[in-house]
Symmetry: C2
Subunit: 247 residues, 2 copies
């Protein structure tokens, strides 16, 4: 069943009182609110959840460039501090045992919820991507191969599909680097179209964390770095997830 | 078959020579290049194509708010100059008989290409939306009901799904209002989360057309206009579609 918004809207980026939700974003003290270390966030996030499919693994649709880059970064997970992030069907799986603060969480049900960037489950048709994160450098790399269901102009990825994956890569980076939970803003400049079936590499950096916000940048380019596809800056709001109490 | 980017990349927003594509965006004279009237663009775009499914029609998943708003705007198509835009599975269907200039078009094949915002075909699971366009006012309204495959935070639409639909609504508006073809930039500020299954109304205005670019704004809000979900500005590049020559 789809819940029809009975929660009301959730206000972002402003600390004001919202009708129906007592105080969504109260003025939290950064020192008390954001105490979780990157290491502890990463270890919780990357726990092996054996019953869940990880969609960020190679499949038959991956082109040689995608496979080679994946192997290259997988090597770096052994020697250079990079971590391959698992990618489950829904954010509900990523935050198992945690809940959104201030009553935002929707009661779990049996519906088929999907995180937008995993909405298409047929291999190679939609989003193929994998994110690697570096906790010390607070950087991420996302390898992205758009399929034919992501089309905009004939033969090329829709600008919106690129924007959405930038938002998603920001989102995972922001959470792991500093409990960034919600997108406040995205500013994207498109430079070149990404051909469907090719590989784009998204480089994300956390530029600064200030006033409960994470400021990030992203550049999407071809594997050889000769073609810049798009540049983006994003701001995310910090908000701490709460431990779920036992039933 | 997915074409693997042999066309090379297509440079946007800059009039420079690109290797492999002689001159993607030459300095066109606006008077000679953009001679098609809004009326002629609209009549071509809205031609009844009986063999194609229009996805912008009510289905069993639409909630009462969505249905009521749809009916309201459908009435305005009879009296107030609004036009309901058809929405086909692929942009290839929208531009039948036309091709992208400068060799950008990919040869048609039998693959299942889908425009990103119609990537999920199960009713109610992904994007449900319909765009109404007003040629004289150069405005659009998009009614949007996000399904559970568009999730970001549990129970709410992914910021990227909202960004993508804003881009798509801009895209259709830009084309019909002034042959705007490619997104140059998107600046989005998110204010409140959109609950899955609820309705958001996107109001798009063309602010100005200058230097072969269309400048547009969008505000997404609840039906009662009491909640602003997001605001966005977008710039699109004008580029004229060419008539396909007979085989």
């Amino acid at each position: 069943m789809i819940r029809r918004g009975f929660l009301g809207a959730v206000r972002l980026g402003q600390h004001r009182v919202l009708p129906g939700v007592p105080q969504v974003l109260p003025r939290l003290s950064p020192t008390s609110a954001f105490g979780s270390s990157t290491d502890s966030l990463v270890s919780r996030f990357c726990l092996e959840k054996m019953d869940l499919k990880d969609y960020a693994l190679p499949n038959a649709s991956w082109c040689p460039d995608m496979l080679n880059l994946y192997q290259e970064f997988l090597e770096k997970t052994k020697t250079d501090g990079w971590i391959k992030l698992p990618s489950f069907k829904s954010n509900r799986d990523h935050i198992q045992g945690l809940k959104l603060p201030f009553g935002l969480a929707v009661a779990s049900d049996k519906s088929d919820w999907r995180i937008f960037t995993r909405c298409i489950q047929e291999e190679g048709r939609g989003y193929e991507y994998v994110i690697f994160f570096h906790p010390t450098k607070k950087k991420s790399i996302c390898l992205f191969q758009p399929g034919p269901y992501l089309e905009g102009p004939p033969g090329f990825a829709h600008g919106g599909s690129v924007a959405a994956l930038m938002d998603e890569t920001f989102s995972k980076t922001a959470y792991l680097a500093g409990e960034g939970l919600f997108t406040v803003s995205l500013n994207i400049r498109f430079k070149n179209l990404i051909p469907v079936g090719s590989v784009a590499v998204l480089n994300v950096d956390v530029e600064k964390i200030e006033d409960q916000k994470l400021y990030m940048s992203c550049i999407a380019q071809s594997r050889d770095q000769q073609t810049v596809y798009a540049k983006c800056s994003g701001v995310f709001l910090q908000l701490q997830l709460e431990e779920e109490s036992s039933p």
